[in-house]
Structures are given as C-alpha cells and as structure tokens.
C-alpha cells in the first residue's frame, strides 16, 4: 500500500494521524481514500473543481510532482507527501 504523509496543519481531519497507508492506482485515488476515512481532508488539498490548490505541493518519493500531479501513478511502495505553504507569519 502507498503511504500518504500528512503535514501538521492538515492533521485536524485526520485526528492527528501523520501517515496513512492507502490503496490507489494514482495520487487522486490515494487522496480519495484518505477522504473516505477522514472526511474534510480532501478540500484542504483540492478546490471545489477538484484541482490541486496552488499553495499545495505534492511529492512522490521525494520528487515534486509537476503537471497534473493528481493523475500520476501511485505504486504500493510509494511515499506521497503533501506539503502546504503554511509555516507562520
């Protein structure tokens, strides 16, 4: 199963969980699975049209995904990290 890493600001919906193992063929599938288990998570990553928020970056195995990151594949051993542009201010 792929592992999804949740950034601290997004751990409200996941009730504190920072890592989740999910099944999915692509990044979007993986995120939908997180949403199924923890409603309220997905809107933090995608907008009402299902597009990735501009302030969110998605990394797979340490490499930032460019283009339509949500459609890119996810293998069982992959680590998908969500990074949100929030750190203070």
């Amino acid at each position: 199963m792929a592992k999804v890493l949740i950034p601290p600001p997004y751990r409200g919906p996941t009730q504190g969980a920072g890592e989740l193992e999910v099944e999915g063929q692509c990044v979007r599938d993986c995120l939908l699975e997180v949403e199924r288990r923890f409603p309220g998570f997905l809107p933090l990553v995608v907008d009402a049209n299902g597009a990735q928020h501009r302030f969110v970056k998605i990394f797979r195995n340490g490499d930032q995904l460019t283009g339509d990151a949500l459609q890119q594949s996810a293998a069982p051993e992959d680590e998908i990290e969500i990074v949100s542009a929030i750190a203070g201010g």
Binding site: L44, R54, V83, I86, G88
Partner: protein, 577 residues
C-alpha cells in the same frame, strides 16, 4: 578569545544625556537578542517600575549572528517592561540597524533614565568613534516616513535608523519601534508588539542613527568552516520548499480553511473576504504596478517581504503581512487587501503595532462605535490619532483600553496583549504558548500549527517551540529562515571556533524563559494570569459540528513551567512564528 572579540555595550542615560561605552562580558558571548535583553532587564530593571517612567530600561540588542555573513541573520531585539502587559517584553525586527551595530562591535544599547523636560527630544548617534546623544527637538512629532526621508538626507548614506513615531511619543501602549530597511530609507520593519515604542518615546529618544561606515562583516574564528556552512545552508534552503517565497500573506487561504483567519473580533474563524484578502492578489498586482518580493536586510535569502505599490505604481508599504491582513483586515471586516495596505502604511507612519491596532479597532466595532469594515472611518481615526482624541488614544493603547473605554467586555487577549491571527481555539498548543509566555499572546513566542495534535502532546510541543524560538531570537536568525537548534549550533561553533553542545542551547533557551518568568513574578504576575480572555473559553469557532473553544485545563497549562527532558525533536524542530 577565538572569534569576534572586543565587543562593547552602549549605556545611555537620558536623565543627563550621557552615553558610555562598556566592555561586553566574555561569558555572555553566546547571548544576544532576546536572551541578552532578558538577562540585562532582570539584572538592571526594577520589575515593579512604571513602564513609562525613568526606571524602565530599554534594550536594543542584535542577535549573536548579526553582522556576520550568515544568511538572514541580522534581526535586532527591542526589550523592556511593557506598558501594554506590565511584564517583560521583547519584540524583534529586520532591517539594517542590527547588522550595523554588530559590524561596529556593539552588542546592545541600554537606555535608562528620562529627561526632566518631557517636551525635549534627543537622538543617539552611533558610529566607529562611539556614541553620543544630541538634541533632536526639530524632529518632534514627525511621522516615520517623513522623519526617515529627512534623516536620510542629513546623515551618511551608509547609516540606518531606529525610530519612534508619533504614537511612541504619545506613549501609547500599542506603539512600535521602527527600523529602516535594506535601502536605509523606509521605516518599514517594526519591533511591533508590547508597546516598546512608548518606552522609547517616554525616554525622549526620537531616533538612533547607526553608521557602520566601511566596517566589514564580523570575522568568524573558523573562516573556512563558516564560509562552507553559509554556502551549504543557502544552497539547501534555496533547493527546498521556500515556504515564504511569496511572503507570509500567501498563508491566507490555508489559514481560512483552518478557521484561523479570524473575522469580526474573532466571532468566526473564517472570513467571506478571504479571496480578496489573499496575498496572491498582491503578487498578481506586481505585473501591472511594479513592486515585488525583496529582502528587508542584507544577506537575506528568504526574501519574504513584499513591496506593495499603489495603482499608479508608487511605493505604498512594505511588507504587507499575513498577521496584518488578518487582524487589521478580516477581523475588522475589511474586504480588500488594498485597503489593508493603506491602513498598514498609516500604522507604520505612526509607529503602531498592526496586530494590536487591528484588534483594538475590532473591539470598537464590536462595541457598536464604528461600522464593521468602515475603512474610511478607520483611516480617519488613525490620521487624527496624533490630535489626542479619546477614541484615538484608546485604539493606540490597544484592545483592552478600547474595551475599558466602551465598556465592551469581549476583548480577546492574554496578559493585556491582543491575540494575534493564529487562534488558540483550533490551535490549542499555541494557546498554551499564549498563556505561559511571559510576553502574553504572541505567536512569535511559539507557534504550533497542528489542529490534530493529541492533548497529551500539547505541553511538550509548546515548551519545545518556545525554547527553539528563544534560542532563535537570541541568534539574530529570522524565524522565517526556520533554523533548527542543530543549525544554530553549527553556526555558533564556526563563529567562535569551539563546539557548542545541544545541552548548552537547550539550557540557553530554557534560561531565557526562566529569566522572563522571574521578571514577571517580581512584577507581580502569578499563574492566575496564565489565562486567555473569557471569550476564547466560551465562544466556539470551527466547522459545523466541530466547533471548538479553548478548553485546556489550568493544571495542564501549568506543566509548561516544568522543564521536560530533551527529546531528539527539540534539536531538529524548525523555529516557527
């Protein structure tokens, strides 16, 4: 002694207008900024003194790394007894004065006393020949931008300035201390919180001029290691996430989703105007109006400061920050970032903390004495504030003062200081910081943006980040560079050519907190003061079905005062504020 040596302290006596240079104690070489300010205040300031009287001590202390070639390391701390909270306060700023003082070898300016004639104004001039006080009556009452424009023409082009605006001269408890930016011209970098501008004003000190002349950067003991460290750290930072690439204002949409983009005196955690207040709109304006991202001090690699222009392409303000957009914007139901930019400029002109002023205006609106979002009324009040009307004075004195003037009880604060944007109801560990920091509600004391944190982790997370931020604010590194304690150890080690242990920095951070708590204890604070205003404990915000109040029990909050054993993450956690 290896590394920089021969450093000095400047002692200024405002009562007889004298300045004296003293040797800097060798045993304090790793103390700077906030930690140095706390040490001096605890030793030399009577905590029971009148904050606006002659016995208060105003400290201006750059960080340990200021004046070196280390990236983003030139912050300066301003410290004293706060007229806002009645306790110890440190607020720090970017800009050039910290770098310039340290290039000259001055580790701090310590200002004591008070002129017999409260109408007189003085300036402290600092350069390679030393320091002296001179009359500055001609600058009395000048707004910050006009003041700095005038000073820029009068003093060497290499000089930077620390200034006191009209709000400070009026001794208002929300007054800030301004520092000029990299251009040495705009007074846009403010040590804003806690009313330290009022302390400067009460001492009759209108400005400090620091001219480094041709002074070079501070030389580290291990130049090779230090140079390599600077290079590697910069390269790694620039290859990383660069969270503040478009400024702190880009945080708006996420904060809104997390219910910490507070609205109408914090009755809601989300604003319907988040889209039009989003920093992305500011970035979009750059193409047509000019402006853009820049660094507020030399050697900064974060470059989080936005330069905001008006519709004609003329400079308006810098930087328009997330905190300002939230508390002076959304919290007052202001709808447009351009209006917040105008208000931000006015606050910088007067020398007012935008957080305290925004919170005060929101209380005024909540009390029914100003319409929500009435930008013209807000501007008018600020423009006429120097005339000294009761409402203007109350706003300048902060949210609690407006509550007293209007009889309005709903004032979100801790220890008399308004709560910043980051809300303690969804972010409960941050709420513990607001309760236990000697500074009152101050996100720079220790911010934890994790709404899913388990209650059992609240105390450690708050204590940990408070320690990290203490060490960071002693170092001169900007919190937005997000160094860890291990990073700071590496830089200190190369600067002084000796190993600095993890335990040393853990001790330093903890001791800074202990010094600040002890000052407050002697000032009369008790653990009964470690509370947030009732409205934070009664009025819930958040998503439907998941609304929250601040409900951390007092006995849990009190655990923050017990030093916990260091865990690995203490040394790898990034500074955050």
């Amino acid at each position: 002694m290896a590394g920089p040596s021969g450093d000095k302290l400047i002692y200024v006596n405002m009562t007889d207008q004298s300045a004296e240079i003293r040797d800097y104690p060798d045993e304090w070489k790793l103390l700077g900024g906030r930690a140095l300010s706390a040490k001096i205040l605890l030793q030399e300031c009577d905590p029971t003194c009148d904050p606006l009287g002659p016995d208060n001590v105003l400290v201006m202390a750059p960080g340990v790394m200021s004046g070196t070639a280390a990236p983003t390391s030139g912050r300066i701390s301003i410290g004293g007894k706060s007229p806002l909270t009645g306790g110890i306060k440190e607020a720090n700023a970017g800009g050039e004065p910290g770098q310039h003082l340290m290039k000259l070898g001055f580790r701090a300016i310590v200002v004591k006393g008070q002129p017999a004639d409260a109408e007189r104004r003085y300036a402290l001039l600092v350069d390679k020949s030393g320091a002296k006080l001179v009359p500055a009556d001609a600058y009395k009452g000048m707004w910050n931008y006009a003041l700095c424009e005038s000073l820029h023409g009068e003093y060497p082009k290499t000089a930077s300035f620390i200034t006191c605006g009209p709000a400070g001269e009026m001794q208002l408890a929300g007054a800030s201390v301004a520092c000029t930016d990299q251009d040495n011209r705009y007074p846009a970098r403010h040590a804003a919180r806690g009313g330290l501008g009022a302390v400067m004003g009460a001492k009759g000190l209108k400005f400090v001029m620091v001219d480094p002349g041709r002074a070079s950067v501070r030389r580290p003991a291990d130049r090779k290691k230090f140079g390599a460290l600077c290079k590697t750290y910069t390269k790694d930072y620039q290859a990383g996430e660069q969270m503040f690439k478009f400024g702190t204002s880009s945080v708006v949409p996420v904060a809104n989703m997390l219910h910490t983009f507070v609205y109408k005196n914090r009755v809601e955690g989300q604003s319907p105007d988040a889209e039009s207040l989003d920093g992305a709109r500011i970035v979009e304006s750059f193409e047509e109006r000019g402006g853009g991202m820049h660094n507020c001090m030399t050697g900064c690699i974060v470059r989080c400061s936005n330069v905001v222009n008006d519709a004609e392409g003329n400079y308006k303000t810098s930087a328009l920050e997330f905190e300002t957009l939230t508390v002076l914007g959304a919290n007052c139901a202001v709808q447009s970032w351009e209006d917040v930019a105008d208000l931000d400029r006015l606050c910088d002109e007067l020398g007012l903390d935008t957080i305290e002023t925004g919170a005060a205006l929101a209380v005024l609106m909540d009390a029914g004495q100003m319409q929500w979002g009435d930008v013209e009324a807000m501007k008018q009040l600020l423009e006429k504030l120097p005339e000294g009307g009761a409402q203007g004075r109350a706003v300048g004195n902060g949210a609690v003062a407006v509550g007293k003037l209007t009889g309005h009880a709903r004032v979100p604060h801790a220890k008399g200081q308004a709560i910043p944007a980051w809300d303690p109801r969804p972010l409960k560990a941050t709420g513990i910081t607001y309760c236990t920091s000697a500074m009152g509600a101050d996100h720079t004391a220790g911010l934890i943006i994790n709404p899913g944190l388990a209650p059992g982790d609240f105390v450690w997370e708050s204590q940990k980040i408070q320690i990290v931020n203490c060490v960071n604010d002693a170092s001169g590194f900007c919190q937005f560079l997000q160094p860890t304690l291990d990073d700071i150890r590496d830089f200190y080690g190369a600067l002084y050519g000796e190993e600095v242990s993890r335990e040393q920095l853990h001790d330093q951070g903890w001791q800074c907190m202990v010094d600040e708590w002890e000052f407050n204890r002697r000032a009369g604070f008790t653990q009964d003061d470690d509370v947030l205003a009732d409205c934070m404990q009664q009025d819930a915000i958040g998503a439907e079905g998941a609304k929250q109040i601040f409900d951390v029990p007092a006995d849990v909050i009190a655990q923050t005062y017990q030093r916990l054993p260091a865990r690995e993450d203490l040394f790898t956690t990034k500074a955050a504020g």
